[in-house]
Each structure stands twice: as C-alpha cells, then as structure tokens.
Subunit: 235 residues, 6 copies
C-alpha cells in the first residue's frame, strides 16, 4: 500500500531517509511563536496548533500523523478528534525498545525538568516496569544543536546505562546498533510505526478505539466550537 | 492567617459554605465558549484560560488557586508558571480519601470516556493502589443537572462500591457521612486543601518544588511569549 | 472554626509556632519508661499509652489528635477506637510531599533498622511509587540531639537525594524551602493536616470511615476490656 | 533433627496431627482477657502477651515459635527480640499457596473489618500480585464456632474463588485437596514451615536476618525495660 | 523494501491477505507429532522444532520470523540464536492493542489452563497494567474449529469485556473494527510487526539487542551442540 | 515421615549434608551433551531430559523432586505432568529469603545474560517487590569452578548488597550466617522445601493445584506422545 504520512516536528527537512519508497511524508513545524517545547506552557501552545493541523491532515487524506516531540504533546486529544492513526514518537519508541530487549531499556533525556511528565506518560503507556533508567544529559534543547557535545553526552550516558543500569537498549536521537547495542531514534520509530498503522487502518480498518477515552465529541457541537476557536467561521 | 483563594469552576456561586470565616474566596468560570470539559479538546480550550487566569491571580495577591474540574486541567502547567499553591480537586480528594480509609476508596465518574485520563492522573499522583474501583454513573455533565437522577445514581453506585468493591469511602459530588460512609465532594476537598496550602506557603514558605517538573521558564523568554499568546503587548 | 489539637510526641514544648491563632494545641509525651521508639518493642510499649491517651482526648472534646512519631505508631488502632480524626505525621508528610512534587520525593531516616517498617507503611498508604529514595543518616535518635552533626547529615543527604535520586522534595525534620527545595518537617505537616481534618470533622461531619478497617468493637465489650486493661474499674 | 515448637493460638489442644513424629509441640493461648483478636485493640493486647511468651520460649530452648492468628500479630516485634525462628501463619500460608499455584490463590476471611490489615501484610510480604481475590465469609470469630455454617460458607466462597476469580488454590481453615483444589489450613502451613525453619536454624545456623528491620535493641537497655514492663524485677 | 517473512503456525495456508505486496511469506507447521500446543509439554516439543526452523530460516536469508502461537513459544531462545528479528504474535498484539487504546484492552483465551503462562508473559513484556481482563472462552483448540460456536463465544466475551471490564480493544482471532471496537487478530499483528521489524533490521541495522538476555552462545560451542542435537553431523 | 527426594543438578555428589536423617536423596545430572545451562538453548536441551526424568521419578515412588538450576528449568512443565511436588531452587530460595528478611533481599548471579529470564521468574513468583538488587558477579559457570575467585566475588557483592542496596539477606551458593547476614544456598533451600512439601503431599494430600496452569494433558493422548518423543514404544 502507498501511504501518506503527516509529520509534525521541530526539524522537518530531510525526512526521506526514514520512509519506505512507497511512502510520501510531509513535514510541518509546531508553532513558530515558541522556541522549543521544554516547558509545559510552551507545549500547551504547541498543542493548540498540533490539534488544528492534525484535524486538517485527516481531511486532506493523510493516512497517519506523527507528532515529533518526545512529550507526545496533544496525542490523546488528537486521537479524540480524528479516526486517522496518530503516533507519538515516545510511545512508538517505547514499543520498539520493549520488543528488542530481553531485559529493560533506558531513556536519555535532556533535562530533569522533563522527567515527571515523561514518567507520567511511561506509566500511562504501561512501560514503567521495562525502563532500566532515565538518564539526564544536562543539555537544553538549544544546547543540543552542538552536535559534538551532544554526541559525547549520549555516548557517555548510553555506556553508563548499559554498564551500570543493565539496559539492553537505549532510546535517544541516534539510529542503529553501536557495538551490538541498539540506540533508537524516536523519529525513525515514530515513522516506522506510522507506516504500519497506516496500512492497518486503510487495509484492515483498524485504528485507535472509539469506545472510551478516544470517543469524539458530537460532530455538530464540535464543529462549531472548533471553528470558533480557530476562527474559521469566515471561510 | 487570613487567606484569599482563587477558584476556577463551572459553578462558582455559593462557595462560602466551603470556606473558613478567615478565608476570602473568589470564583470564575473556565471559558464561556465550551459547554463542559468532558472532551479533551474542550479541556484544552479551558486550559488556555486557566493558565492565564492563574498567572493573573498570583499577581493580584491570591494565596492559593483551586482548579474546580476533576480532570485537574492545566494543573502542572499552572504550577510551572507560578509560586502560589495550585490545587487540583481530584488530587486533593484522593489525598483526603486515602487518609480517611483504612482500606481503599472508590471514585464515581460520569462516563467511561473520562476514565483513561483520570486513571492516568491517579497513576501519576501515586494512588492507583488505593482505588477500590472506578464506577461509571452513565451520566453526561448536562444530564447531571437533573439532581434527582444524579442522586439516585450516586446512591446506587456508592452502595455497590461499598458492598461489592469493599470501598471504605467514595469520592463524588456530595459531602458528609451517610451511614458511616464518607462521601467526598471534590470542591470541598480542593478548597480545604487550598486553605492549608495557602498557610503553608505564606507562613512557612512551602509551596510546590521548583526543582524538576515545576521549574519555570526563564522569566524574559516567558514574559514575551505569554504576552504574545494572550495579546497583552498593548497594555 | 476554633479547634483544639491533641499532640503526642517526644518533644511537646514549643508547638505554638506550628498552629494557627484559632488553634489550641496540647502536647503530651508517649511513655516515660522508654528512651525512644526506635525498636518495635519500644514502639509497642508506646502504643499502649497512645491508645489510652487518644481515647481520653476524644472524651475531653479534642477536635483531632496527632501522633508525633514517624512510625505512625498505633495510628490504625486509635482510629478504630475513636471518631475524632487521628493524624500520623508520616502519612501527613507523604501526602503533602506528594502534592508539592511533580516528580518524586525522598525520605531521610536515622537508621536502616527503621526502613522495613516505614516502607511497609508507605506501601499501605499507597505512596511507594512516589518515593525517589530512602536515605539513611546513620544517626540514632539520641545522636540526633547533636544539632550540628544532624544538620550536616541532613544537608548532605538532601543534596544527594536531589542530585542523585532526582527527588523534588524531601521529608525530614526541617521546615521551609532551601534553595527552592521544600524540606518538610513531619510535625508541621501533621499539625497542618490535623487542623484541616478537625474542620472537616466538626463542620462537615467527615472523619475516617467506620465501614471496614476502622470499625469499632461493640461498645459494651470494648468498654469492659478497656477498663480492665487500663485498670480503671475503680474510678 | 528432633525439634520443639512453641505454638500460640486460640485453639491449642490437638496439635499432634500437624507435626512430625520427631517434633514436640506445646501450645498456649494468647491472652484470656480478650474474646478474640478481630479488633486491632484486642490484637494490641494479645501482642503484649505474645512478646513475653516468645521471649520466654527462646530461653526455654524451643527451636521455633508459631503465632497462630492470621493477622500475624507481633511477628516483627518478636523477631526483633529473639534469634529463634518465629513463624506467622499468614506469611507461611501465602508462601505455600504461592508455591503450589501456577496462577494465583484466593484468601477467605471472616469479615471485611480484617481486610485492610491483611492486605497491608500481603503487600509487605510481597504477595499482592499473587492474590486472585479476598473473599469475605461474613462470619465473626464467634460465629465460626458453628461448624456447619462455616463449612457451607467456605465451600461456597472457595467455589466462587475458583470459578469466578480463577484462583488455583485457597487459603483458609481446612486441609487437603477437594476436587483437585488445595485448600490450605494456616495452622498446618505455619507448623510445617516452623519445622523446616527450626532445622535451618539449629543445623545450618540460618534464622531471620539481624541486619536491618529485625535488629535487636542493645541487651542492657532492653533487659531493664523488658523487666519493668513485665514486672519481673522482683523475681 | 521487499521483505521475506518466515511464518510458523498451525494454519499456514492463506497468509497472503496478511502481507503487503512487497512481502513474500512462507509458512510451516510447528511439529506434526503434537495435536496442539495447549499443554506446556506439547509446547516444549514444538519449541524443539521452532528453534531448528528459525535458525535455518536465518541462514536461508529470511528477513524476519513470526511464531504463530499465542504462548510465544521459543521466542527468547530463538532470539538468542539468531540476529534476524523474531516476532511473537502475543507480544506483537499487546503492543498494537496498547497503542490503539486510551484505556486498557482485554484478552480472550480458550481455557484457564493457558492463563498463568500468558499472564507470566504479559508481566515480562510489561503490559500487565494495561490489561483490563482476561476472559475465558471455555473452548479447547479442537473445539475452536467449530466456527459458529467460536464466533458466538468471541462476541459474547468481547461484549462483556467492553461493557463490564471497560476494555477499549480486544485481542483475539478476528480482524477489524466491529461497532467501533477494534478486535485484533494476533496473526495479523504478528505479521505487520514483522514487516516493520524486517525493514528496521535490513535498512537501519536495528534488531533485538545482543547485550544481555539475547546474547548468543559462543559460535563454536553452539555449532557442535546444535548439530549433535539435531543430528546433522552426517550432512 | 521418611521421604525420598529426587535431585537433578550439575553437582549431585555429596548431597547428604543437606538432608535430614529420615530423608533419602538420589541425584542425577541434567544432560551430558551440554556443558552448562547458561544459554536458553542449552536450557531447552536440559529441559528435555528433566521432563523425562521427573516423570520417571514419580513412577519410581519418589516423594518430591528438586531441579537444581537457578533458572528453574522445566519447573512448570514438570508440574503439569506429575502430582509429586516439584521444587525449583530459585523459587524455594526466594520464599525462604522473603521469610527471613524484614526488608528486602539481594540475588547474586554470574552474568547479566541470565538476568532477564530470572527477573521474569521473580515477577511470576511474585517476589519482584522484595528484591533489593540483582548483583552480577561477572563469572561464567566454568569460571565459578575457581573457588577462590568466586568466594571473593561473592563476598564483595554480598557486602555491597548489604551496604549499598540495604539488603537484609542474600541468595547465592553459600550457607549460613556470616556476621549476622544470612547467605542462602539455593540447593539447601530447594532440598529443605522439598522435604516439607513431600510430607505435605504424602501425609496431608497437598501438592500443586491441578486446577489451571498445572492441569495435565489427557492421559491417553499424553502417554502416546510421551512414548513417541522419548522413543519408548519398543520397551
């Protein structure tokens, strides 16, 4: 099946290496008014545009959407509003890391500020018992632009995760097996899961459940509120 | 200590019975554009105004804020932005229910739609092992305006929680002890905890930790973003 | 509401700074025959007098009782025998620490001897998933009388808890925010919760549940046994 | 090895069928001033005499002690004071039930009043994830003297545990396999474990750890307090 | 990427509807000497041939293997011996069910005999906190050949899972969304995950970790033992 | 009762010191074609002979069997096929370690390769919440034949477990109390539990449950498969 993926993220150029030749991928940034999503307030602002863009993407015929931030912002609210599969890169990475490890996996994150929210997500997803450790790189999002410092920190903490925390794989922004250790890039994981989910939806009619937590609001009510909020009444 | 509480909720009239004579309480609605907060999209919209109002409340000298919706919407983002104690009525109710029960407590909720989000919160707060059961009233927020039907549903499910699920107390919109069973009103719990937390803050300098998850964004960066988002540049 | 708190503890002088001006507090020691409660046998002896004193305190019209030892000795048996709220300082501290931390909190204790009992309590209360670490000061109760050594140990271990265990707050015998980290004194937490619980009881009729674990023995049976045990038949 | 077991319980006659021919067993009641141990206050009183009797039993050369009440009263404080193995019948039963079940086991108890304390113990022992259900017989200790009513209740609830809760074995006051279902008598379990533990102690020098929670108080301090409490100074 | 999947299962005809047009799939039965894998002894026998066949499949250039039995037999030992991704249909189904449910999912199984082993797997994979219920169809593998009886049982228990256990999706041998409820076929899930994993391996060099639990035996030692066991020395 | 124990292990000479004088013990090796059981593939081979030997042992009138490898290989399948108690040394050691520790216990293992499987077992048995730490000796099974190196590693890691991980007892191949710390030999634990279980079976008719996970295959079906697999049709 040829599928069309909608990708939201901070870096949206150069996504082609992540997709199959039968996949088309389009990328868009979150919201230009915020420098990053490190604070929950900034994340809240990003959510506002993520919601709008994913609702539009479904209308435009996309087969799946990927939210390219490790907080998985707006993941549940987006699923509430659309039938199209919506993938969070954190959730996707945890699923793959869990499947490739006999034991547990570690997660490297930039700052301890991010920890409680991500731990909350891990608990919701059910993976808390599979996480060997959370390791803090002590790098802000802007600092991570320095590739050398970032690589060194990743290497150092990956090593520590493997040796001290007995992790068998590590989730962070790299790809491939280094010395037998799989280091997982959430963007790759998210997109690979999105391709699979797109097929499950279009060919087998399986997407996220609409019984329970992802139940949509009544269409009429929703439509008028959505238009008011996103000021589309004039169109 | 005389304290001043800021209360956000759907019903904001008639809060006086919930406070001590030394407490002043002011109430405000969430956002008039949404009929209720049942869907996560509506909650997202409410969050937008909750954030703004709580930031303003701190500036106006309030001693604590209460978010009067059982989803505890915007609880963490609000705490990120202010030093003033911010109370979620769900979190407050769970703390009190846990303290008054030797065994476990049950939670009555309107619809199963609400369940996953609330279970996620219970896991984050740490109370999952104390919850005897979640019982669904099968009532939407609008249907709950019919007090008779609501009372009957609450009575029926409270009874079932006590007898079948061995709950020792129940969290829901009532107050008092009925037949020895404490039935807890989240609004009362939230306000009582807010009064205590206001004193802890003003008199003992204890509020939520700023190390970690509630770390604020850098003031300058935050200020300009906040003003842009809430269109206050002109003021 | 003006409330009257009964406080049981090793240090009972100088409790006034912990209470509101509308609160009267009376303190009493546990049992003079034991030097401290570090061993479970000593705790058992203390329990004997705690039970008696709390039953008496309720008769004398107190509005709440606080048991000022971090083992929360006799907490459940006291609640079984009275309707008046009974507060354990450990349970109260854990509730407050959980509410002020986005992530987890640490607990500093004197000796590893105390650990299993306290861990058992944390499991019962439901907070095990919120505890970042237990850190041992390696100080006995008598050694803690040396304030300088104790302060140094607290500072060292608080720091380690924050940096190594990623705790966001710490429970131990201090009060206030040091460098943004809330360090919680169980005595303050216990008394603040007691004031809140006293109001919930007297004004809203909410105390611990009498369905289940805190069910009282039949009054007649209890009365004669109580009198025999505490040799009050003559009075 | 010939071993000598000290048994504390409400029924102490007729223990011979539970022991090996190489075992001597002596039974003693808890405390004559209390009718049963159903309330924590009564249990507290029983603890007082259990502590004394187990300390004496060790001096008299017993090889192990069994506390014959499903609350496992005074188990930890007794272990703190002696080196001799001390067995709680609940803990012993849970260990055996866990070993004979591929899946989980159920526990039948008399009244819901007992539940929170026993659940607390199950959590401490680590068996919470192995318990299929707690089922309430709705029988007080005195009511259980009616053997017919008790048998019927046990049969009914055992059946329900097997069929509805998918239990593979059941812990309660019976012995043997009924229709392939092992129904475990805590007294038998406690005594069998005590015989094993007596051998482990006397022949292999293994008893409960004295590092940590079971550390004894300093001998001198303890001795004088023990004598004062149990009024033995004159002897 | 064109990929080649090796599928082991009881039904191996008619797998084409489950794969993409770019995928080749070959199926083989487990072991003809056993009628099914319901008993662990039969499973043990099947494991013997699964191990051999997967080792051969890797040599023959397959890109991934799927073990088509819900016990995930020989999953870990196969991963130990090969680099090629090996997928268990239970593990794959749980990952997908977790990703499409905001709340929890249920699992329908044939007989309670299977329960403990599957619960053990769920704990190992980390999904125990996401399982709403295990429901027993009371059908043996041979009985399941009667499609009508099986469909009725699945429908009845799916309904019960949704209504009584609040499941949001269900794992069992069907495919598609019935009334908004996704019912997942483990064979489909296994194959879809295998396609994704094949690409991750061949294109991004990511397969299961060889650090830790999936470490292979030393090649020389392994080779001679493997040949002895599978009597290949003569070839 | 005089009992007869069947012991399967790598070292089977010199088992007499582990048994009571009323016990007869016979030992047999696992399978001579494998050097050890460190890899799951080798374990799979060993399982094949363990199954056969335990089925035979029951026929020969043994009262219990002990599987002397810390993976507890074939434990569940053996229990499925026989009524005689079958003891895994890991499960037995965890039960005893749990009973002798007020807090938690540590487990020393040879290599991290073993960890995920053993953690999986600990979760199945229910003891995960009682394990203070798993410590890796970094010794293969062959390396452990050097007694001096092994002793040093055990001492070093035992010490670290006690001091750093706050373990109160340790499971590993030693026996006795060293400086008050019980260090448990799984072989001793397994045999002691086997003696107890043999008595429970022969005298009280209690063995593992045949309801659920340990249900046996239908005798006729099983018999012919067993004979075919173990090539006994000719006998």
């Amino acid at each position: 099946l040829n599928v069309k993926i909608f990708y939201l993220g901070t870096k949206t150029e150069n996504l082609t290496p992540f997709v199959e030749s039968s996949t088309v991928i389009e990328g868009e940034p979150f919201d230009n008014r915020i420098p990053h999503l490190e604070y929950e307030f900034y994340e809240h602002i990003a959510q506002h545009s993520i919601i709008e863009k994913i609702v539009e993407a479904e209308k435009e015929g996309y087969d799946a959407a990927v939210i390219g931030c490790f907080y998985d912002p707006a993941l549940h609210v987006a699923r509430e509003l659309v039938d199209m599969p919506v993938i969070g890169v954190c959730e996707a990475s945890f699923n793959i890391a869990a499947m490739i490890s006999a034991g547990n996996f570690s997660v490297l994150i930039g700052r301890r500020k991010w920890l409680p929210k991500m731990v909350g997500n891990a608990k919701k997803y059910g993976f808390e018992s599979r996480i060997a450790s959370w390791r803090i790189l002590n790098l802000t999002v802007p600092m991570m632009r320095d590739r050398k410092i970032t690589s060194q920190a990743i290497l150092r903490e990956t090593n520590a995760a493997i040796v001290e925390d007995l992790a068998e794989s590590v989730v962070i922004g790299c790809t491939g097996m280094i010395g037998g250790i799989p280091i997982l890039d959430p963007v790759l994981c998210g997109i690979k899961v999105a391709e699979m989910r797109a097929v499950l939806w279009r060919k087998y009619n399986i997407s996220h459940s609409k019984i329970g937590g992802y139940e949509s609001p009544p269409l009429n009510e929703f439509k008028s509120i959505f238009e008011k909020i996103y000021s589309k009444t004039s169109t």
